[in-house]
Amino acid sequence: MLLETHREAIETIVGRYASPRSAVLPLLYLAQDVYGHLSNAAIREVADILALPETAVFEVVGFYTLFYSRPVGTWMLQVCDDVPCCYLGAEELITALKDSLQIKEEETSADGMFTLQRVKCLAACDRAPVLQANLDYVYDVTPDKVEALLKDLQSRAADARRRGVSGRFAEDFAVTEQGAVELVARDAPYQSRQFEVQGPPPPPEPLPPPEVESGQDRAETRRGSPL
């Protein structure tokens, strides 16, 4: 039961709001990560914790697209098919994923590893085609990178199961110099967490010397640099 295993986290969350009901979304994320998806029992449990009518919580689960009321794969792949991505290779990416996984949208692969979904704009249109894997961004996923991506994700399946599908620990991943995706401690210096699937990593860009006068700013976020 969540109250036994996560009491402290739940109390912290509820303490942020003037009304406990505000904690519904964060608690549903927690339940979804612990149980894999939001079963009826899990939804009732959240309702009980917050002393809400069950219908109030079922309604929320039905309304928001990031809550899954049926089992999903270890990795939830959510590909943006919106304008402009759909004109920049997103459809080809979706086709490549469907071919490779032998599934259609909203289905889960036979081994339970991947669920495929089309989603709307992910606010990364400059890096199209783009997808999220359990809410980790993956940029510039041209169809030729699909095999490498799926292999990489497969090799991290155990991690994915531990982290859950809701992205509550999305920050814990970083790319090493060798291009591997690794867990980083919560207090480690900031690192880029979103990773790219590609061959050898590009040579690091030379950084300007640290002693910069105020005013040495930049007009753009460069393509190709990790955010």
């Binding site: 003037a18 697209t65 304008v83 992910l122």
Partner: protein, 437 residues
């Protein structure tokens, strides 16, 4: 016309600017320290008002004026920072947070101080899971430095900032739907009035502002009104972080003063770098999916609220989507209305039903090439029943793509209808049912 001094994308070249100490080394958090210790909240509100800062969330409403709508002496008050950023084509809030979270947090803290509130929430779309953690880490650093929490810098001022993640619903960017969502309900908009400044979150006076809007505040307070107003135009002062995407060579976020012509953003080698493969421009959508379309004729339109409005569109979120001649206008309208259909909250009939019917007809026509002779009047009929009848602006926005497509490219609809008619000679053999979804 490059900028020598950026406001929103400041110091992005400074290594590790996302760390607290590094941000402080370039003057970060100074504006807030000074304000809390030496300036009254009213001074800050006055500065923001005089600077002419306008809301970057879409409407361009003057921020200082919005702040002064708060009823006097009613407490508690809340500040909400809107980071729902889900409008197709818009991606600057995302990058502002990923690269320089402290600037936003300082902006939120300063604004909270200005409106005399002690609790602020940053509402992020659920997909920004990593960005939410970036912000939480940065907020922790600010707490540790004594800039947030109780009795800040010994002044007796208290402030808590929390990050709250939504769960995948564009409509939660609408300010009253955001409040519903933050209260743990489904994200359906509320009737206005009462406006949020009078009765917002938990029925208390609430100010809601976009990420980019609040990220401007530290620089205004630090460098003053005259400096701020030296950027941009008289009516749209300051700079705007334009999200440029589509068939351009260099998509990305570019910070430019208001008033720069569209052509410069798209064609300048510093920014968009022109069209991929030098193909001609067909459609320019200057303010996210909700904005009426422009075309290559409009390249000289100045990018400020007034200029884009005069050209018949709106600056909206500053997301500029540029599409070339390989796209078909009916298909673009289909994809965009599919977005609105997907995101309609279902509260009111014109939007819930209207977006569904638009998508059904457009899918048959644009995706499958099966058109009925009267499809054009049908489409006009559907959007006319929506326009002016929807409960909130999402439904009204859904009218724009189809209306623009029919106005600007009627011949493309006619061609599909003609081809479809000839192919089937109207013998009924082509009668396929509307897609049931």
């Amino acid at each position: 016309m490059g900028l020598s001094d950026y406001i929103i994308m400041r110091e992005l070249n400074f290594p590790d600017i996302n760390r607290f100490e590094r941000y402080c080394q370039v003057g970060g958090w100074e504006a807030y320290r000074t304000a809390v210790k030496e300036q009254t909240p009213a001074t800050i509100v006055q500065m923001v008002k005089e600077a002419g800062l306008r809301g970057r969330g879409g409407a361009g409403f003057p921020t200082g004026i919005k702040w002064s709508f708060l009823p006097k002496d009613v407490f508690p008050r809340y500040l909400l920072c809107n980071c729902d950023e889900s409008e197709p084509g818009t991606f600057n809030n995302h990058q502002i947070i990923d690269r320089n979270p402290h600037q936003l947090i300082e902006g939120v803290a300063l604004s909270a101080y200005a409106i005399e509130c002690h609790t602020a929430y940053i509402y992020m779309r659920g997909e920004f899971a990593a960005a939410a953690l970036t912000l939480e880490q940065a907020i922790d650093e600010a707490y540790r430095a004594g800039l947030l929490g109780k009795n800040i810098l010994g002044t007796g001022y208290d402030l808590d900032i929390y990050v709250h993640r939504g769960a995948g619903a564009y409509i939660c960017g609408e300010e009253t739907a955001l409040m519903e969502s933050l209260e743990g309900k489904i994200g359906q908009p509320r009737l206005k009035p009462p406006f949020p400044a009078v009765a917002g979150l938990y029925g208390k006076p609430t100010i809601i502002n976009n990420v980019e809007t609040l990220a401007n505040v530290p620089r205004i307070v630090e460098k003053g009104v005259a400096w701020y107003r030296s950027h941009g135009t008289e009516k749209s002062p300051g700079t705007k972080c334009f999200s440029l995407s589509g068939h351009v060579n260099r998509p990305g976020n570019y910070e430019l003063p208001f008033g720069v012509p569209l052509r410069e953003l798209i064609e300048s080698p510093e920014y968009g770098g022109g069209m991929k493969g030098s193909r001609p421009i067909k459609i320019i959508i200057p303010g996210g999916a909700s904005a009426p379309w422009l075309t290559a004729k409009h390249l000289d339109v100045p990018l400020d609220y007034e200029g884009v409005a005069a050209a018949g569109s709106m600056l909206g979120s500053g997301a500029v989507i540029v599409l070339n001649d390989t796209v078909k206008a009916p298909h673009v309208a289909y994809k965009m209305d599919e977005f609105f259909k997907h995101e309609s909250c279902g509260k009111c009939t014109p939007c819930r039903e209207g977006t569904h019917w638009l998508v059904k007809v457009l899918h048959r026509l644009a995706e499958e090439g099966h058109a009925e002779p009267d499809d054009i009047p049908t489409l006009h009929g559907i959007y006319r029943q929506m326009a002016g009848n929807c409960f909130c602006l999402l439904g009204e926005s859904a009218v724009m793509p189809i209306k623009s497509a029919l106005e600007l490219f009627p011949e493309e609809f006619e061609a599909i209808i003609k081809a479809s008619n000839e192919r089937h000679q109207r013998n009924g053999a082509h009668a396929i049912p509307l897609r049931v979804s």
